[in-house]
Symmetry: C2
Subunit: 130 residues, 2 copies
């Protein structure tokens, strides 16, 4: 009998934490243009991305309470996420830029902060080897 | 003159934090079967996923030091990530399962913990509306 190899296809859910979920969600729905889903619980905000991935914004206090339906988690302090953007789109975001970096792999990144202090990178092209 | 609409295509980099980066990286390379890239710096571990996304494991102490090439970040406490897995692959992971959940959207998830305490979900199918 053979069993299938474990096969991770990709990241389905990425989580960022924010004490003020609503203010942070407005940043992702507004300047970043992400599409919010109506969350089934008041715990956080949920966004569906064009490639099928999901971004979750959670309040770490509430997400870390034991006895939730899902296993508890909840991190404090600034996290980091990078979003792929389409060719030519990098200049179109109306957000204050903290840093700009051009990568040896040919990509270019703008770094901004969300209202919770998370470091948000917008990248056109690649920063890492294949 | 028209400017292109801001167009976020998807999540490029997802970050998890671990004080012991090496032990945590062994979990993602081993039982989870992710493909490590040789990181250009000793700051953390880098994995390339089959869909082109990148998973980063960072030590929050080092990632939050000011004066890095990239803007600093670094969260403490258990984070969360969900990986999409191929059909039939869910049973093939040799990892202790903390919880199993079947979703109304038809998906099914196993929850495990990485060595740093992050809540790692392996999902076949969907947990969220389209």
């Amino acid at each position: 009998m053979t069993t299938p190899e474990p096969a991770v296809l990709g990241v389905y859910e990425t989580v960022l934490y924010a004490r003020d979920v609503e203010a942070t969600a407005r940043f992702y729905a507004g300047p970043l243009g992400l599409r919010p889903l109506e969350a089934s619980e008041k715990l956080g905000a949920v966004f569906r991305l064009d490639d099928g991935g999901v971004l979750l914004i959670f309040d770490p206090e509430r997400a870390s309470e034991p006895g939730r339906y899902v296993p508890e988690h909840g991190a404090r302090g600034p996290g980091h996420i990078a979003f792929s953007v389409g060719a030519g789109a990098l200049e179109a975001f109306a957000i204050e830029v903290e840093r700009e970096i051009s990568w040896g792999q040919g990509g270019r990144s703008l770094y901004v902060r969300d209202p919770a202090g998370n470091s948000v990178e917008l990248i056109e092209g690649e920063a890492w080897p294949a």
